[in-house]
Symmetry: C2
Subunit: 178 residues, 2 copies
């Protein structure tokens, strides 16, 4: 926003497309969180490519529809989840994403490990909260044996089931830990 506040509206993983076809420029900015390899198309050329090959445009449409669904799911999270639920949901999303891509699965399939691809600050910006709150929630999950902190960026999900429940509602877990 103009006043400096920020909101992350998406996370891109290898093979994802980004940009804004059919507009002069994207209303959002893009930031690399890691080293990246980008395949760039010149706008005009890309658009005429889409025109010439409807199958390609079709694929793009399908992907954009998926992204729209994801964005709306995220709106649900931003709009009605507590900080704890947000962090839990985020971990679950990372888990889903990374096993999908198959980056982590190679090691050990039964002790799922996820890594924050970006700084706490960016995670917080994505979740609509603050770095401090993210930190507190992560620590809480660690204390409650839901995750194990490997190195501050990396987490072993020791109890995926509990994590899933945390993402949905926290009340009963509060009692458990009391």
């Amino acid at each position: 926003m103009e006043d400096g506040r920020q909101q992350v509206v998406g996370l891109l993983f290898p093979s994802d497309f980004f940009g804004r076809p059919f507009e002069e420029q994207s209303p959002f900015s893009f930031e690399a969180a890691t080293d990246v390899e980008i395949c760039v198309f010149e706008r005009q050329a890309f658009q005429s490519l889409l025109e010439r090959f409807p199958e390609v445009e079709h694929e793009l449409l399908v992907q954009v529809l998926t992204e729209l669904d994801a964005a709306r799911e995220w709106m649900v999270l931003l709009g009605c989840q507590s900080a704890r639920e947000k962090v839990a949901s985020f971990l679950l999303m990372l888990l889903r994403r990374s096993t999908l891509i198959g980056c982590e699965k190679a090691g050990k399939p039964d002790a799922p490990i996820v890594t924050f691809p970006v700084s706490r600050r960016d995670v917080a910006l994505y979740l609509g909260t603050t770095p401090e709150t993210v930190s507190r929630q992560v620590q809480w999950m660690s204390r409650n044996n839901i995750i194990k902190i490997i190195d501050g960026q990396t987490f072993e999900i020791t109890n995926p089931q509990k994590l899933a429940l945390t993402a949905a509602r926290e009340e009963w877990l509060d009692q458990l830990s009391a």
Copy 2:
């Protein structure tokens, strides 16, 4: 959500398309807020229509891209705006939308009037807040001569500029009214 909490992820206006092509069903539900006239396509038929007429699919793509931008804008609102800013932004969005469609403009172009198309509750659900809070913010804007409440559902925007500022940051207005 499964536990009963709700989040409205979009508002549809006349001529808008909805549904989820290329999937069995939409992950979201749709609710009519007013009497509506709907044009329904049978899924299979619609999909083959898209296949046969790439120009139509192109139009759909353009619209979906626009919706994606809108959804992300809304994520910014949900993630980092205060309740007051949210309500102000919502009024502005309604204003933009309705003048675009030209429903209200007919009357008097210089005293813009907007109408909540849905109940306070639904507005709150859209903004990620509660009906009480929406009410309080609307009343506050009325007291501060930003809007004039016509009939609880309808508002005259007496000071669009102040409204725009309220949507962005409230601090300076607080001082003004103190």
